[in-house]
Protein backbone atom coordinates (compact mmCIF):
# COMPACT_ATOMS: atom_id res chain seq x y z
CA UNK A 1 0.00 0.00 0.00
CA UNK A 2 1.34 3.42 -0.88
CA UNK A 3 0.52 5.00 2.48
CA UNK A 4 1.11 2.81 5.55
CA UNK A 5 -2.01 1.69 7.39
CA UNK A 6 -3.22 3.53 10.47
CA UNK A 7 -1.58 1.62 13.35
CA UNK A 8 -4.06 2.88 15.96
CA UNK A 9 -4.71 0.08 18.48
CA UNK A 10 -8.51 0.62 18.43
CA UNK A 11 -8.58 -0.53 14.79
CA UNK A 12 -6.54 -3.69 15.35
CA UNK A 13 -9.61 -5.61 16.55
CA UNK A 14 -11.18 -5.62 13.09
CA UNK A 15 -10.58 -8.25 10.40
CA UNK A 16 -9.09 -5.70 7.97
CA UNK A 17 -7.93 -2.74 10.05
CA UNK A 18 -6.17 -1.27 7.01
CA UNK A 19 -9.61 -0.34 5.64
CA UNK A 20 -10.24 2.20 8.41
CA UNK A 21 -8.44 5.32 9.54
CA UNK A 22 -8.96 7.39 12.66
CA UNK A 23 -9.50 11.15 12.61
CA UNK A 24 -6.19 11.66 14.44
CA UNK A 25 -4.27 9.61 11.85
CA UNK A 26 -5.91 11.45 8.97
CA UNK A 27 -5.09 14.82 10.52
CA UNK A 28 -1.42 13.79 10.71
CA UNK A 29 -1.33 12.37 7.18
CA UNK A 30 -3.38 14.98 5.30
CA UNK A 31 -0.35 16.30 3.47
CA UNK A 32 0.90 12.91 2.32
CA UNK A 33 1.12 13.17 -1.48
CA UNK A 34 0.06 9.53 -1.85
CA UNK A 35 -3.28 10.16 -0.18
CA UNK A 36 -6.46 11.75 -1.52
CA UNK A 37 -9.43 12.44 0.76
CA UNK A 38 -12.85 12.09 -0.88
CA UNK A 39 -16.07 13.42 0.64
CA UNK A 40 -19.33 11.76 -0.38
CA UNK A 41 -22.60 12.93 1.17
CA UNK A 42 -26.31 12.56 0.82
CA UNK A 43 -26.57 16.33 0.38
CA UNK A 44 -24.48 17.32 -2.63
CA UNK A 45 -23.95 20.85 -1.28
CA UNK A 46 -22.73 19.86 2.18
CA UNK A 47 -19.15 19.67 0.88
CA UNK A 48 -19.38 23.31 -0.21
CA UNK A 49 -20.34 24.45 3.29
CA UNK A 50 -16.92 23.25 4.44
CA UNK A 51 -14.83 20.13 3.96
CA UNK A 52 -11.59 18.59 5.16
CA UNK A 53 -8.72 20.62 3.66
CA UNK A 54 -7.68 19.15 0.33
CA UNK A 55 -10.69 16.81 0.09
CA UNK A 56 -12.45 16.40 -3.25
CA UNK A 57 -16.17 15.72 -3.69
CA UNK A 58 -17.64 12.68 -5.39
CA UNK A 59 -21.42 12.60 -5.61
CA UNK A 60 -23.38 9.37 -5.95
CA UNK A 61 -26.03 10.91 -8.24
CA UNK A 62 -23.81 12.97 -10.46
CA UNK A 63 -20.57 11.00 -10.55
CA UNK A 64 -21.20 7.31 -9.81
CA UNK A 65 -24.54 6.57 -11.49
CA UNK A 66 -24.87 6.24 -15.22
CA UNK A 67 -27.14 9.11 -16.28
CA UNK A 68 -29.24 6.89 -18.57
CA UNK A 69 -29.19 3.23 -17.55
CA UNK A 70 -29.82 2.18 -13.97
CA UNK A 71 -26.23 1.14 -13.46
CA UNK A 72 -22.91 2.48 -12.29
CA UNK A 73 -20.60 4.40 -14.59
CA UNK A 74 -18.36 2.41 -16.91
CA UNK A 75 -14.58 2.18 -16.86
CA UNK A 76 -14.10 5.21 -19.09
CA UNK A 77 -16.28 7.49 -16.97
CA UNK A 78 -14.64 6.17 -13.81
CA UNK A 79 -11.18 6.84 -15.22
CA UNK A 80 -12.26 10.38 -16.13
CA UNK A 81 -13.67 10.93 -12.66
CA UNK A 82 -10.62 9.65 -10.82
CA UNK A 83 -8.13 11.25 -13.20
CA UNK A 84 -9.95 14.56 -12.91
CA UNK A 85 -9.40 14.48 -9.16
CA UNK A 86 -5.72 13.69 -9.55
CA UNK A 87 -6.11 10.13 -8.35
CA UNK A 88 -3.89 7.36 -9.70
CA UNK A 89 -4.23 3.61 -9.29
CA UNK A 90 -1.59 3.82 -6.52
CA UNK A 91 -3.37 6.53 -4.57
CA UNK A 92 -4.60 5.77 -1.09
CA UNK A 93 -8.20 7.01 -0.98
CA UNK A 94 -9.79 7.94 2.33
CA UNK A 95 -13.54 8.38 2.08
CA UNK A 96 -15.74 10.19 4.56
CA UNK A 97 -19.20 11.68 4.58
CA UNK A 98 -22.38 12.54 6.44
CA UNK A 99 -24.86 10.19 8.10
CA UNK A 100 -22.41 7.68 9.61
CA UNK A 101 -20.50 7.39 6.32
CA UNK A 102 -23.58 5.99 4.62
CA UNK A 103 -22.76 7.52 1.20
CA UNK A 104 -19.02 7.25 1.72
CA UNK A 105 -19.42 3.49 2.16
CA UNK A 106 -21.50 3.42 -1.01
CA UNK A 107 -18.74 5.18 -2.93
CA UNK A 108 -16.18 2.84 -1.40
CA UNK A 109 -18.16 -0.15 -2.61
CA UNK A 110 -18.39 1.30 -6.15
CA UNK A 111 -14.63 2.01 -6.11
CA UNK A 112 -14.19 -1.64 -5.11
CA UNK A 113 -16.13 -2.76 -8.20
CA UNK A 114 -13.34 -1.11 -10.16
CA UNK A 115 -10.79 -2.83 -7.96
CA UNK A 116 -9.13 0.35 -6.73
CA UNK A 117 -6.52 -1.25 -4.48
CA UNK A 118 -6.43 1.04 -1.45
CA UNK A 119 -9.73 2.53 -0.32
CA UNK A 120 -10.38 3.33 3.33
CA UNK A 121 -13.13 4.88 5.43
CA UNK A 122 -12.63 7.60 8.00
CA UNK A 123 -14.09 6.06 11.16
CA UNK A 124 -16.86 8.34 12.41
CA UNK A 125 -17.07 10.24 9.15
CA UNK A 126 -17.73 13.91 8.78
CA UNK A 127 -19.48 14.30 12.12
CA UNK A 128 -16.54 12.91 14.11
CA UNK A 129 -14.11 15.24 12.35
CA UNK A 130 -16.36 18.26 12.97
CA UNK A 131 -17.13 17.27 16.58
CA UNK A 132 -13.41 17.24 17.36
CA UNK A 133 -13.09 20.78 16.04
CA UNK A 134 -10.68 19.74 13.30
CA UNK A 135 -10.07 22.12 10.39
CA UNK A 136 -12.67 22.57 7.67
CA UNK A 137 -12.42 24.85 4.67
CA UNK A 138 -14.59 26.16 1.87
CA UNK A 139 -11.55 26.48 -0.35
CA UNK A 140 -11.67 24.18 -3.37
CA UNK A 141 -8.59 21.98 -3.69
CA UNK A 142 -6.41 22.45 -6.75
CA UNK A 143 -5.28 19.06 -7.93
CA UNK A 144 -3.39 18.22 -11.10
CA UNK A 145 -5.22 15.75 -13.33
CA UNK A 146 -3.74 12.31 -13.78
CA UNK A 147 -4.17 9.48 -16.27
CA UNK A 148 -6.20 6.95 -14.33
CA UNK A 149 -6.11 3.66 -16.25
CA UNK A 150 -9.19 2.29 -17.97
CA UNK A 151 -10.29 -0.56 -15.73
CA UNK A 152 -13.28 -2.70 -16.55
CA UNK A 153 -15.82 -2.80 -13.72
CA UNK A 154 -16.03 -6.32 -12.29
CA UNK A 155 -19.44 -6.91 -10.71
CA UNK A 156 -19.02 -10.64 -10.26
CA UNK A 157 -17.62 -10.83 -6.74
CA UNK A 158 -19.23 -7.92 -4.92
CA UNK A 159 -22.53 -7.21 -6.67
CA UNK A 160 -25.69 -9.31 -6.80
CA UNK A 161 -28.40 -8.92 -9.43
CA UNK A 162 -32.01 -9.99 -9.02
CA UNK A 163 -31.33 -13.32 -10.74
CA UNK A 164 -28.49 -13.94 -8.27
CA UNK A 165 -30.82 -13.27 -5.35
CA UNK A 166 -33.48 -15.60 -6.77
CA UNK A 167 -30.84 -18.32 -7.11
CA UNK A 168 -29.62 -17.55 -3.59
CA UNK A 169 -33.02 -17.90 -1.86
CA UNK A 170 -32.75 -20.18 1.15
CA UNK A 171 -29.26 -18.95 1.94
CA UNK A 172 -28.28 -15.95 4.12
CA UNK A 173 -29.73 -12.57 3.22
CA UNK A 174 -29.64 -9.45 5.35
CA UNK A 175 -32.17 -6.65 4.95
CA UNK A 176 -30.69 -3.44 6.36
CA UNK A 177 -33.71 -1.17 5.98
CA UNK A 178 -35.75 0.23 8.86
CA UNK A 179 -38.11 -2.18 10.68
CA UNK A 180 -41.17 -0.57 9.03
CA UNK A 181 -39.76 -1.12 5.56
CA UNK A 182 -38.82 -4.71 6.43
CA UNK A 183 -42.28 -5.57 7.67
CA UNK A 184 -43.92 -3.89 4.69
CA UNK A 185 -45.61 -1.07 6.58
CA UNK A 186 -43.43 1.54 4.86
CA UNK A 187 -41.99 1.74 1.37
CA UNK A 188 -39.13 4.05 2.34
CA UNK A 189 -37.35 5.14 5.50
CA UNK A 190 -39.39 6.97 8.10
CA UNK A 191 -39.20 10.74 7.38
CA UNK A 192 -38.47 10.19 3.69
CA UNK A 193 -40.85 10.18 0.71
CA UNK A 194 -42.95 7.03 0.52
CA UNK A 195 -42.22 6.11 -3.01
CA UNK A 196 -40.38 3.68 -5.17
CA UNK A 197 -42.05 0.27 -4.80
CA UNK A 198 -45.41 -1.28 -5.67
CA UNK A 199 -45.24 -3.82 -2.84
CA UNK A 200 -43.92 -3.74 0.71
CA UNK A 201 -42.16 -6.47 2.68
CA UNK A 202 -38.86 -8.29 2.38
CA UNK A 203 -37.12 -11.03 0.43
CA UNK A 204 -38.09 -14.44 1.90
CA UNK A 205 -35.60 -15.59 4.50
CA UNK A 206 -33.88 -12.25 4.92
CA UNK A 207 -32.98 -11.32 8.48
CA UNK A 208 -33.46 -7.72 9.61
CA UNK A 209 -30.51 -5.67 10.86
CA UNK A 210 -31.02 -1.95 10.23
CA UNK A 211 -27.70 -0.65 8.91
CA UNK A 212 -27.16 2.03 11.56
CA UNK A 213 -26.97 -0.60 14.30
CA UNK A 214 -23.32 -1.00 13.24
CA UNK A 215 -22.59 2.53 14.40
CA UNK A 216 -21.98 3.65 17.97
CA UNK A 217 -23.42 6.83 19.49
CA UNK A 218 -20.52 8.92 18.21
CA UNK A 219 -20.93 7.65 14.63
CA UNK A 220 -17.85 5.41 14.76
CA UNK A 221 -18.18 1.69 14.17
CA UNK A 222 -19.03 -0.41 17.17
CA UNK A 223 -16.37 -2.69 18.63
CA UNK A 224 -15.93 -6.00 16.87
CA UNK A 225 -17.35 -7.86 19.84
CA UNK A 226 -20.56 -5.81 19.69
CA UNK A 227 -20.81 -6.25 15.92
CA UNK A 228 -20.38 -10.01 16.25
CA UNK A 229 -23.09 -10.08 18.92
CA UNK A 230 -25.48 -8.54 16.39
CA UNK A 231 -24.56 -10.15 13.08
CA UNK A 232 -23.34 -13.58 14.25
CA UNK A 233 -25.11 -14.33 17.52
CA UNK A 234 -28.38 -12.43 17.21
CA UNK A 235 -29.29 -13.13 13.57
CA UNK A 236 -26.98 -16.07 12.91
CA UNK A 237 -24.96 -14.92 9.90
CA UNK A 238 -21.82 -16.92 9.20
CA UNK A 239 -18.54 -15.39 7.97
CA UNK A 240 -17.82 -18.44 5.79
CA UNK A 241 -21.21 -18.55 4.06
CA UNK A 242 -22.13 -16.51 1.01
CA UNK A 243 -24.29 -13.62 2.13
CA UNK A 244 -26.24 -10.95 0.24
CA UNK A 245 -27.16 -7.56 1.71
CA UNK A 246 -29.82 -5.25 0.34
CA UNK A 247 -31.81 -2.14 1.21
CA UNK A 248 -33.86 0.22 -0.99
CA UNK A 249 -31.36 1.23 -3.67
CA UNK A 250 -28.17 -0.39 -2.39
CA UNK A 251 -26.62 2.51 -0.48
CA UNK A 252 -27.38 1.57 3.11
CA UNK A 253 -26.47 -2.04 2.34
CA UNK A 254 -23.04 -0.87 1.10
CA UNK A 255 -22.44 0.22 4.68
CA UNK A 256 -23.38 -3.24 5.96
CA UNK A 257 -21.31 -4.82 3.18
CA UNK A 258 -18.33 -2.87 4.54
CA UNK A 259 -19.01 -4.01 8.10
CA UNK A 260 -19.37 -7.68 7.19
CA UNK A 261 -16.47 -7.76 4.72
CA UNK A 262 -13.84 -5.50 6.22
CA UNK A 263 -14.65 -5.37 9.92
CA UNK A 264 -15.89 -8.94 10.49
CA UNK A 265 -13.94 -10.67 7.72
CA UNK A 266 -16.82 -12.36 5.90
CA UNK A 267 -15.35 -14.13 2.90
CA UNK A 268 -18.11 -13.52 0.35
CA UNK A 269 -20.65 -10.75 0.75
CA UNK A 270 -22.45 -9.25 -2.22
CA UNK A 271 -24.52 -6.08 -2.29
CA UNK A 272 -27.83 -6.31 -4.16
CA UNK A 273 -28.09 -2.71 -5.36
CA UNK A 274 -31.35 -3.28 -7.22
CA UNK A 275 -32.67 -3.81 -3.72
CA UNK A 276 -36.27 -3.12 -2.77
CA UNK A 277 -36.93 -0.64 -5.58
CA UNK A 278 -36.35 -3.53 -7.97
CA UNK A 279 -37.67 -6.46 -5.93
CA UNK A 280 -40.80 -4.67 -4.71
CA UNK A 281 -41.66 -3.65 -8.28
CA UNK A 282 -40.98 -7.00 -9.94
CA UNK A 283 -43.73 -9.27 -11.15
CA UNK A 284 -44.11 -12.64 -9.42
CA UNK A 285 -41.10 -12.58 -7.14
CA UNK A 286 -41.81 -13.95 -3.66
CA UNK A 287 -42.30 -11.46 -0.81
CA UNK A 288 -42.78 -11.93 2.90
CA UNK A 289 -44.66 -9.39 5.01
CA UNK A 290 -44.33 -8.97 8.75
CA UNK A 291 -41.52 -9.10 11.25
CA UNK A 292 -40.36 -12.70 10.68
CA UNK A 293 -37.87 -13.71 7.95
CA UNK A 294 -40.27 -16.31 6.61
CA UNK A 295 -39.49 -19.27 4.40
CA UNK A 296 -38.92 -19.66 0.71
Amino acid sequence: MPVPADPSPELAQYAHPERLVTTAWLAENLDDPGLVVVESDEDVLLYDTGHIPGAVRIDWHLDLNDPLTRDYVDGEAFARLMGGHGITRDTTIVLYGDKNNWWAAYALWVFSLFGHPDVRLLDGGRSAWVAEGRPMTRQAPSRVSTDYPLVRRDDSALRAFQSDVLAHLGRPLVDVRSPGEYSGDLLHMPDYPQEGAMRGGHVPGAVSVPWARAAAEDGRFKDREDLEAIYLTEVGLDPQTETIAYCRIGERSSHTWFVLTHLLGFSHVRNYDGSWTEWGNSVRVPIVRGTQPGGV
Binding site: E42, D43, V44, L45, L46, D48, T49, D59, H61, L62, D98, D191, Y192, P193, Q194
Partner: protein, 150 residues
Protein backbone atom coordinates in the same frame (compact mmCIF):
# COMPACT_ATOMS: atom_id res chain seq x y z
CA UNK B 1 -41.55 16.86 -17.10
CA UNK B 2 -42.10 19.07 -20.13
CA UNK B 3 -41.30 22.68 -19.38
CA UNK B 4 -44.31 24.98 -19.38
CA UNK B 5 -44.09 28.39 -20.97
CA UNK B 6 -46.01 30.33 -18.30
CA UNK B 7 -43.75 33.22 -17.26
CA UNK B 8 -42.18 33.23 -13.81
CA UNK B 9 -42.68 36.15 -11.38
CA UNK B 10 -40.01 38.82 -11.91
CA UNK B 11 -37.83 37.99 -8.89
CA UNK B 12 -37.90 34.27 -9.61
CA UNK B 13 -37.24 34.92 -13.29
CA UNK B 14 -34.14 36.95 -12.32
CA UNK B 15 -32.90 34.09 -10.14
CA UNK B 16 -33.55 31.65 -12.99
CA UNK B 17 -31.59 33.87 -15.38
CA UNK B 18 -28.65 34.12 -12.96
CA UNK B 19 -28.60 30.35 -12.47
CA UNK B 20 -28.93 29.64 -16.19
CA UNK B 21 -26.06 32.01 -16.94
CA UNK B 22 -23.77 30.30 -14.43
CA UNK B 23 -21.60 27.22 -14.95
CA UNK B 24 -22.53 24.03 -13.09
CA UNK B 25 -19.96 25.02 -10.47
CA UNK B 26 -21.39 28.56 -10.33
CA UNK B 27 -24.90 27.20 -9.84
CA UNK B 28 -23.76 25.28 -6.76
CA UNK B 29 -22.14 28.47 -5.44
CA UNK B 30 -25.38 30.40 -5.96
CA UNK B 31 -27.39 27.64 -4.32
CA UNK B 32 -25.04 27.78 -1.35
CA UNK B 33 -25.58 31.55 -1.12
CA UNK B 34 -29.33 31.03 -1.00
CA UNK B 35 -28.79 28.40 1.68
CA UNK B 36 -26.68 30.80 3.73
CA UNK B 37 -29.20 33.63 3.31
CA UNK B 38 -32.36 31.70 4.21
CA UNK B 39 -33.96 33.78 6.99
CA UNK B 40 -34.20 31.97 10.32
CA UNK B 41 -37.58 30.76 11.46
CA UNK B 42 -39.32 33.41 13.62
CA UNK B 43 -39.41 32.30 17.29
CA UNK B 44 -43.21 32.18 17.20
CA UNK B 45 -42.99 29.15 14.92
CA UNK B 46 -40.34 27.24 16.89
CA UNK B 47 -41.61 23.68 17.32
CA UNK B 48 -45.00 24.78 16.03
CA UNK B 49 -47.57 22.30 14.81
CA UNK B 50 -48.44 24.89 12.16
CA UNK B 51 -45.34 23.90 10.21
CA UNK B 52 -45.98 21.50 7.35
CA UNK B 53 -43.41 18.84 6.60
CA UNK B 54 -42.20 18.54 3.01
CA UNK B 55 -41.66 14.84 2.52
CA UNK B 56 -40.36 15.18 -0.99
CA UNK B 57 -37.02 16.52 0.25
CA UNK B 58 -34.18 14.12 1.05
CA UNK B 59 -33.87 15.73 4.44
CA UNK B 60 -37.24 16.80 5.78
CA UNK B 61 -37.96 20.50 5.69
CA UNK B 62 -40.76 22.34 7.42
CA UNK B 63 -42.58 25.32 6.03
CA UNK B 64 -45.56 27.53 6.65
CA UNK B 65 -47.24 30.35 4.81
CA UNK B 66 -48.90 33.56 6.04
CA UNK B 67 -51.32 35.45 3.79
CA UNK B 68 -52.13 39.09 4.62
CA UNK B 69 -55.88 39.47 5.22
CA UNK B 70 -56.20 42.67 3.19
CA UNK B 71 -55.83 43.02 -0.58
CA UNK B 72 -53.73 42.04 -2.43
CA UNK B 73 -53.21 39.25 0.12
CA UNK B 74 -49.43 39.32 0.12
CA UNK B 75 -47.78 35.99 0.90
CA UNK B 76 -45.00 35.43 3.45
CA UNK B 77 -42.99 32.21 3.59
CA UNK B 78 -41.27 30.63 6.58
CA UNK B 79 -38.93 27.65 6.44
CA UNK B 80 -37.04 25.45 8.88
CA UNK B 81 -34.25 23.18 7.62
CA UNK B 82 -31.04 22.11 9.36
CA UNK B 83 -27.63 23.47 8.30
CA UNK B 84 -26.58 19.88 7.44
CA UNK B 85 -29.08 20.02 4.56
CA UNK B 86 -27.74 22.94 2.49
CA UNK B 87 -29.35 21.81 -0.78
CA UNK B 88 -32.78 21.76 0.82
CA UNK B 89 -32.05 25.11 2.49
CA UNK B 90 -30.90 26.49 -0.85
CA UNK B 91 -34.17 25.44 -2.51
CA UNK B 92 -36.08 27.15 0.30
CA UNK B 93 -33.89 30.24 -0.05
CA UNK B 94 -34.68 30.49 -3.77
CA UNK B 95 -38.40 30.22 -3.15
CA UNK B 96 -38.19 32.78 -0.36
CA UNK B 97 -36.20 35.24 -2.46
CA UNK B 98 -38.41 34.64 -5.48
CA UNK B 99 -41.89 34.58 -3.96
CA UNK B 100 -41.99 36.20 -0.52
CA UNK B 101 -44.12 39.36 -0.51
CA UNK B 102 -45.93 38.60 -3.75
CA UNK B 103 -49.74 38.81 -3.93
CA UNK B 104 -51.44 35.45 -3.45
CA UNK B 105 -52.72 35.58 -7.03
CA UNK B 106 -49.16 35.78 -8.37
CA UNK B 107 -47.90 32.93 -6.19
CA UNK B 108 -50.78 30.72 -7.35
CA UNK B 109 -49.89 31.57 -10.96
CA UNK B 110 -46.33 30.21 -10.60
CA UNK B 111 -46.12 27.14 -12.86
CA UNK B 112 -45.77 23.89 -10.93
CA UNK B 113 -42.66 22.98 -12.90
CA UNK B 114 -40.87 26.27 -12.11
CA UNK B 115 -38.13 24.46 -10.10
CA UNK B 116 -37.29 22.42 -13.20
CA UNK B 117 -36.70 25.64 -15.13
CA UNK B 118 -33.90 26.97 -12.92
CA UNK B 119 -31.05 24.97 -14.42
CA UNK B 120 -30.52 23.13 -11.15
CA UNK B 121 -31.23 19.62 -12.42
CA UNK B 122 -27.82 19.45 -14.11
CA UNK B 123 -26.09 20.79 -11.02
CA UNK B 124 -27.73 18.70 -8.29
CA UNK B 125 -29.61 15.99 -10.24
CA UNK B 126 -33.31 15.92 -11.28
CA UNK B 127 -34.20 13.60 -8.38
CA UNK B 128 -33.11 16.20 -5.84
CA UNK B 129 -34.93 19.03 -7.63
CA UNK B 130 -38.14 17.08 -7.06
CA UNK B 131 -37.88 18.17 -3.44
CA UNK B 132 -38.28 21.77 -4.56
CA UNK B 133 -41.28 20.84 -6.71
CA UNK B 134 -42.82 19.40 -3.53
CA UNK B 135 -42.11 22.61 -1.60
CA UNK B 136 -43.75 24.77 -4.25
CA UNK B 137 -46.82 22.52 -4.41
CA UNK B 138 -47.26 22.72 -0.64
CA UNK B 139 -46.76 26.49 -0.62
CA UNK B 140 -49.42 26.94 -3.30
CA UNK B 141 -51.83 24.64 -1.50
CA UNK B 142 -51.41 26.59 1.74
CA UNK B 143 -51.83 29.92 -0.08
CA UNK B 144 -54.98 28.65 -1.76
CA UNK B 145 -56.43 27.53 1.57
CA UNK B 146 -55.46 30.68 3.47
CA UNK B 147 -56.33 33.23 0.78
CA UNK B 148 -59.73 31.68 0.14
CA UNK B 149 -60.74 30.20 3.49
CA UNK B 150 -63.79 28.00 3.47
Amino acid sequence: MTASTTPLPAALADIAADLQAASARGRLDLLLEFSDELPPLPPRYAGSALLERVDECQTPLFLTVEVEPEQPHRVHLFFAAPPEAPTTRGFAGILHAGLDGLPAHDVLAVPDDAPMRLGLAEAVSPLRVRGMVGMLARIKRQVRAKAHPG
